[in-house]
């Protein structure tokens, strides 16, 4: 079988049952994508396939031979981080780091969805989605972080979305508000 991952060509002959996730982790040495549940219930395995975020654990490798696949390794390296990777470091958007590649791939895909004007479950007016902390949290809810860096993940994504300039984000209320 032939695969295109992070712009590189790979040949491999895995078992027909091999998931896209296991192809990367066990056959191609791309262990950045993580296996947390193997059932689409945690998001640690999130990759971008033709630019869309998906759970690679629930994908057969054999079905993705014609696709452009991007894993965390394709976004940036420790020496040359993708803006979201850098923002996750700055905002401590992780602790143990195990869900992190999936979070970041998911965030890349998610911001693209926002750019396309896709609404979410918490969007008020589906025609004209606005973007705020609640939207980020809802849209990132397919990525579980048990260390629970959620507020920092939201901060990191918010910062990148703001710096992109193509997404207007509602201002935030401090904790002192309310009551």
């Amino acid at each position: 079988m032939h695969f295109t991952i992070n712009g590189q060509s790979f040949e491999a002959e895995p078992d027909i049952r091999t998931s896209l996730l296991d192809l990367c982790r066990e056959h191609l040495g791309l262990t950045g994508s993580k296996k947390g549940c193997d059932h689409g219930q945690c998001g640690a395995c999130t990759m971008l396939v033709n630019g869309r975020r998906i759970n690679s654990c629930l994908s057969l490798a054999v079905m993705h031979q014609d696709d452009e696949i991007t894993t965390i390794e394709g976004l940036g390296t420790p020496e040359d981080l993708h803006p979201l990777q850098a923002a996750f470091v700055r905002h401590d958007g992780y602790q143990c780091g195990y869900c992190t590649p999936g979070q970041i791939c998911s965030a890349v895909g998610m911001l693209d969805e926002v750019k396309k004007g896709w609404p979410s479950h918490v969007t008020g007016d589906l025609d004209a989605p606005t973007f705020d902390d609640g939207e980020i949290a809802e849209r990132m809810s397919g990525n579980i972080c048990r260390c629970a860096a959620y507020p920092n993940i939201v901060d990191a994504i918010r910062e990148v979305a703001e710096s992109n300039g193509d997404t207007k984000i509602a201002p935030r209320q401090p904790v002192e508000a309310g009551a």
């Binding site: 993580k34 992190t100 260390c147 629970a148 507020p151 508000a177 009551a179």
Partner: protein
């Protein structure tokens, strides 16, 4: 204490206060700073290597096989059919040696071994090894096993009256002081209520994983473990080899929260399989197996009695707990732990009884004891305040003890009331409305408060620090970073004391070839491991001073230079062919002569839907004290994590056991509901300035767990304030609130 030579060991037992800390007198000014994690770039780019990810040649894949009865004996296991399947190498059973259940943290003996007599549903009984993961999984799931089933004990309610007092151990299960009955009788205000909490699972994102390889009779196990030093002992004992033949590597661990303190069944299965096959074997638990066969936090039943005089002063505190565990296991969930010292009151009764059930082993999960114990205590305090008609913060103020009310020793430092007061001010506590009165559309709003407390512990820990010819420091210990920030804070301590830019400190963790560290658990990691690094660096300062020919105290180390005697010399020029020293810290009298604990206050605002009973946490603030904060950024993250665990245990997390066979019913992340991003608002954390000179030379206390302690109670108290409904059966899922909500 100075004038160390190369290879010196600097040991300290905390038998007296340590009022001076080099972290205060050093000049690098990096300690405490919210610097980014030094391991961060690797983590965010997928280059941090976790246990199952080491690229070894010729790895065979193991898939674990579970027992599918709750109790009984294996009578037949059809290995031959499985072995005939394509790609399958072997079906490996070793009933006597396989682990019945994981080991508890810090133990140096093997856990209970022997799996032929099945002790609980999901027990790991065999491992199928194949050339591919897919072939191993297929064969393992199809492996036919026959059992002679036997009767089991599967239902807590059925057996709760058979609860027994655990055998005496490190944590005394019973404490009786004064006369609780008499105290309750004399009290003007009384609360006598029972809280229950369910089994829970740590559900770290990385499933338990072991990659085992034998070379020349020695085992290297790349494992997902929190405490490699004792895990190595456990593994060696389990396999019947000497400890010097076992090496554990755990450089990156994808979360633990207690579940990876001791070795789990996959380790021994992988090790045995690797030995039999003569090639490396990788065994990663399926997520379902993590639920079945690692540790759970025990369910609890907690009777809380509080009796107060007319002024709201407690005169009676009763906290009687019943938890569960497998027959023959010593561990009990110490739910009354914080009740021993949190509030004043002369008549006290704190008990821990245990019901023997054929369920998955119970053991440590983040803040064992306080995490669930404070649900009951802080819920009951809230109830008492309501009963007396005073503010719950005022009630706590009136019961602030001057010393440990049981041991009658002073607190090393205690800032509970300042945490409550600071939080109240920031959160707008004064605007709290009477219960059930703040309705906004379809939502009832409420705010709640709870105290946080978690005992501080120091563990024996060692680390080696060396300085190479380039003037870079290398820290080596088998301590782990399970997301706690250990890499970074050990780097900061070293950088601070040796006067180096953080980039010039390289930290190597999680390899038992290095000096044995405390491991990550019980919030002791930073204080213990950090102190060992401190002591090694202190020794190195002596060596540097000697090389410089000056008195150590007159020397300043900063930015890689040694400054003394009107000279400034690059450190690299002084180290010759390198310097090294080992630091060792050990607990001593200070933990007996002082009560040491971290404190905090949680404030939560919730909205409860009047139609559905759904609860949303709208705001949450935690104010904490834990001695010196070593890195404000990673410390804050630890608290965010704890608070979120609190939200989960308040609202959604419940591991369900089928009463017919003990089986964990909701054994995946789809149905065991840990909080997702949308469940958690932008939590806020604040630290109040504090130093604890009794704790250790860093003056730092534990932080990894105080964030969960009391967090669930604050949410529960907020739900009461929102609805006027007091539910004591956690988690507070919507079905339990429906009856108390307004008619639709």
């Amino acid at each position: 204490m100075f004038g160390f030579g190369k290879g010196d060991t600097n040991s300290l037992t905390m038998n007296k206060a340590h009022p001076e800390s080099l972290l205060d007198s050093s000049a690098q000014d990096v300690i405490g700073k919210p610097i980014d994690r030094i391991d961060g770039p690797k983590k965010v780019s997928g280059k941090a290597t976790y246990a199952a990810e080491y690229a070894l040649d010729n790895v065979a894949y193991g898939y674990l096989v579970r027992a599918t009865v709750g109790a009984g004996k294996i009578t037949k296991l059809d290995a031959e059919t499985a072995k005939a399947m394509p790609g399958v190498i072997d079906v490996i059973t070793d009933y006597a040696t396989f682990l019945r259940n994981p080991q508890q943290g810090g133990e140096t003996e093997a856990p209970t071994q022997g799996v032929e007599q099945v002790a609980y549903y999901g027990e790991i009984i065999a491992i199928v090894v194949a050339e591919s993961y897919e072939a191993a999984r297929d064969a393992a799931l199809r492996l036919h096993v026959d059992y002679a089933p036997s009767e089991g004990r599967y239902d807590f309610q059925t057996h709760r009256n058979e609860a027994e007092k655990p055998s005496p151990q490190q944590i005394p299960p019973y404490h009786e002081q004064g006369d609780i009955e008499e105290g309750m009788k004399q009290a003007q205000h009384r609360i006598d209520v029972t809280y229950t909490t369910p089994s829970q699972n740590s559900a770290a994102m990385e499933p338990h994983a072991s990659l085992a390889v034998w070379e020349d009779g020695a085992l290297t196990l790349y494992g997902a473990y929190q405490m490699p030093a004792s895990d190595k002992q456990q593994l060696a004992k389990s396999l019947g080899v000497s400890a010097d033949k076992v090496r554990i590597v755990a450089a990156y661990v994808g979360g633990g929260f207690g579940s990876k303190l001791g070795i789990a069944p996959e380790s021994v299965a992988a090790a045995i399989a690797a030995k039999r096959l003569g090639r490396p074997v990788k065994a990663v638990m399926a997520r379902q197996q993590v639920f079945d066969a690692t540790v759970r936090r025990s369910n609890t039943e907690q009777r809380m009695r509080l009796g107060a005089d007319a002024d709201g002063k407690l005169i009676a505190i009763g906290h009687e707990t019943i938890t569960s565990n497998l027959p023959g296991e010593d561990y009990f969930e110490p739910a009354g732990m914080a009740t021993h010292f949190l509030y004043d009151g002369e008549n006290r009764l704190i008990t821990h009884d245990i019901v023997r059930l054929d369920w998955t082993l119970s053991g440590s999960m983040r803040a064992p004891g306080e995490a669930v114990g404070l649900i009951a205590l802080e819920g009951a305090i809230d109830e008492l305040a309501e009963e007396i008609g005073i503010d719950p913060i005022e009630l706590r103020r009136r019961n602030e003890p001057e010393q440990d009310p049981e041991k009658k020793v002073p607190y090393s430092s205690r800032m509970l009331i300042p945490c409550l007061e600071r939080g109240a001010e920031r959160f707008g506590w004064a605007k709290r409305k009477p219960a059930g009165t703040d309705r906004r559309g379809d939502w009832l709003y409420g705010i709640g408060v709870a105290s946080a407390a978690r005992s501080n512990q120091l563990q024996k820990s060692a680390a080696k620090v060396s300085i190479d010819g380039q003037g870079k420091a290398h820290v080596e210990t088998d301590m782990t970073d399970i997301g706690t920030g250990t890499y970074t804070i050990l780097g900061q301590i070293t950088a601070e004391i040796l006067g180096l830019p953080i980039e010039d400190v390289i930290v190597h963790l999680g390899d038992t070839d290095a000096p044995p560290g405390a491991g990550s658990g019980g919030s002791w990691g930073a204080g213990s491991s950090g102190s060992s690094v401190y002591l090694a660096c202190e020794a190195l300062r002596g060596q540097i001073a000697k090389a410089m020919g000056v008195d150590e105290p007159s020397m300043t180390l900063k930015d890689g230079r040694v400054i003394a005697d009107n000279r400034s010399v690059p450190l690299a020029e002084l180290v010759g062919d390198g310097m090294e020293a080992t630091g060792e810290i050990a607990p001593g009298r200070q933990e007996k002569t002082f009560n040491q604990a971290s404190y905090g206050a949680h404030f939560a605002e919730v909205a409860v839907n009047v139609v559905t009973g759904e609860v949303r946490v709208k705001r949450m603030l935690g104010v904490f004290t834990a001695g010196r904060i070593l890195n404000e950024k990673t410390a804050r993250s630890q608290c965010l994590g704890g608070m979120t665990f609190g939200i989960g245990s308040a609202l959604t997390e419940e591991l369900v056991h089928d009463p017919r066979n003990g089986k964990v019913v909701n054994r995946d992340l789809g149905e065991y509901h840990v909080p997702v991003n949308a469940d958690v608002p932008q939590l806020e954390v604040e630290f109040l300035h504090e130093r604890d000179i009794q704790a250790n030379p860093l003056h730092a206390k534990g932080l990894g767990e105080v964030g969960i302690c009391g967090a669930a109670a604050a949410v529960g108290n907020a739900i009461y304030n929102a609805t006027g409904v007091r539910v004591r059966d956690y988690p507070l899922t919507l079905d339990k609130l429906l009856d108390g909500l307004p008619v639709v």
